[in-house]
């Protein structure tokens, strides 16, 4: 019998530390699949954030660097500049990348550093128990916006891909979701494209993926699927915000 779908080699056999139904698992899995498919396992260096993504330290079967909260893009800069021959990516949450790490991601993008960022946007601080993130939706409740995010006090959700895409240097900026098999496949293709651009020294690539946090959204995993479709995507439309010229020609 032929194996049609298998657990990727770039993940360990152990269970992930993520909560049931958490799409950190999905995103990790498809990234690992891309690495397997491109046979990059021995070439890859993965920079993990502080956030639930940190749990990847026990999960990935790759060279790993645990970074300080928000600083993965700086760490990746140091790594990639030292070892241009490696595939380097950061894996970051929305608190990590959109709040404390704002300067680091914007400047790495602006310098056009030749690595890839996978940005897991779940509209919340998952790891610390559900505080408001820069990406929390208007009206969404969190432990620090107990009556729902009020734009008069906390402003509007930040559309980070759009900001990154407005810079000149980044090569590829796109937003995906992983709430349906079809979306998962698109997200996977997006990651693949980003890695391929990096491999040909094409510059900075940025993949935002809409994710969930059943635990802190206070929903069952299945409920989060609809929430993403109906709420999250309104604020954060899927799409490609920037891509290399050649690619555009192809479309």
């Amino acid at each position: 019998m032929k194996k049609l779908y298998s657990r990727p080699e770039s993940l360990n056999k152990s269970a992930s530390g993520f909560c049931p139904g958490c799409m950190h698992g999905t995103i990790t899995k498809i990234t690992a699949q891309v690495i397997d498919e491109l046979e990059l396992g021995e070439k890859t260096i993965c920079c993990l954030p502080v956030g639930c993504g940190t749990l990847g330290l026990l999960y990935w079967n790759l060279d790993l660097v645990g970074c300080a909260h928000g600083r993965a893009p700086a760490v990746a800069t140091g790594i990639k500049r030292s070892r241009p021959q490696n595939l380097v990516f950061t894996y970051q949450g929305d608190g990590d990348l959109g709040a404390i790490g704002t300067a680091e991601i914007i400047h790495a993008a602006n310098r056009g550093e030749n690595f890839t960022t996978i940005f897991v946007n779940n509209s919340i601080y998952g790891m610390t128990g559900g505080q408001m993130a820069p990406t929390t939706l208007v009206g969404q409740k969190s432990t620090t916006s107990p009556t729902g995010r009020d734009p008069a006090l906390a402003g509007y959700p930040m559309n980070i891909s759009e900001i990154i895409a407005s810079l000149r240097a980044p090569a590829y900026v796109a937003r995906f979701a992983v709430n349906t098999p079809a979306n998962i496949n698109k997200a996977k293709a997006g990651i693949k494209k980003a890695f391929e651009i990096q491999l040909r020294n094409g510059g900075f690539t940025f993949i935002e993926i809409l994710s969930n946090c059943p635990t802190n959204w206070g929903m069952t995993p299945l409920e989060t699927l609809d929430f993403i479709e109906e709420q999250t995507m309104k604020q954060f439309p899927l799409g490609i915000f920037k891509e290399p010229e050649e690619e555009i020609d192809k479309c």
Partner: protein, 181 residues
């Protein structure tokens, strides 16, 4: 009097609430009490535990190297902490999930409550902790059970439906305690 109690179980079993409610009850009786939840990197999907110390004097250390009472809601917790129970101490176990055979030879009293199954019969396994709480209150005799019932029901919420469920669970725990003792 100084009683050290540990409650331990899976993350979702409400062990923190159980411990906290013991604390609240002791507080209402003007006793000295400390409730210390253990937390840590293992918490996500792992085990949870907390220490409650009840005393009629000021409590110095809020932790206990030796336990008077252990309440084990699942097997891993039982296995991990049974060794900390003092000779002469008491162990409450959630019989549905815990096999206490290991400890039979030790000088500890074992109170077995089929908490998960009983709770399931009441409608949701979620009230297993309340059943255990009531059983503990009834047998440990540190706190006044009637006053405790009031405190617990007050703390557990205002929704009529929940109230009733919790009341039943509490009652069930008391009855179980009577049966086992």
């Amino acid at each position: 009097m100084l009683v050290s109690i540990m409650i331990a179980g899976f993350g979702g079993q409400g062990v923190m609430l159980l411990g906290r409610l013991i604390g609240e009850c002791a507080f209402e009786e003007n006793l000295h009490v400390s409730f210390l939840p253990a937390y840590g990197p293992e918490q996500r999907g792992g085990t949870a535990n907390c220490t409650v110390i009840v005393s009629d004097e000021e409590i110095a250390a809020p932790v206990a190297e030796e336990l008077d009472i252990l309440c084990a809601m699942n097997q891993p917790s039982f296995d991990k902490f049974i060794g900390k129970v003092k000779a002469g101490g008491t162990v409450y176990i959630n019989k549905t999930l815990v096999n206490a055979d290991k400890a039979r030879e030790r000088d500890v009293e074992i109170v077995e409550i089929d908490a998960d199954n009983l709770a399931y019969q009441l409608g949701t396994v979620k009230v297993a902790n309340i059943i255990m709480l009531a059983a503990f209150l009834a047998t440990a005799k540190i706190l006044n059970v009637d006053r405790a019932r009031e405190v617990v029901l007050k703390k557990l919420g205002k929704k009529q439906e929940l109230l009733e469920l919790n009341r039943q669970a509490f009652q069930c725990g008391l009855e179980q305690a009577e049966k086992t003792s």
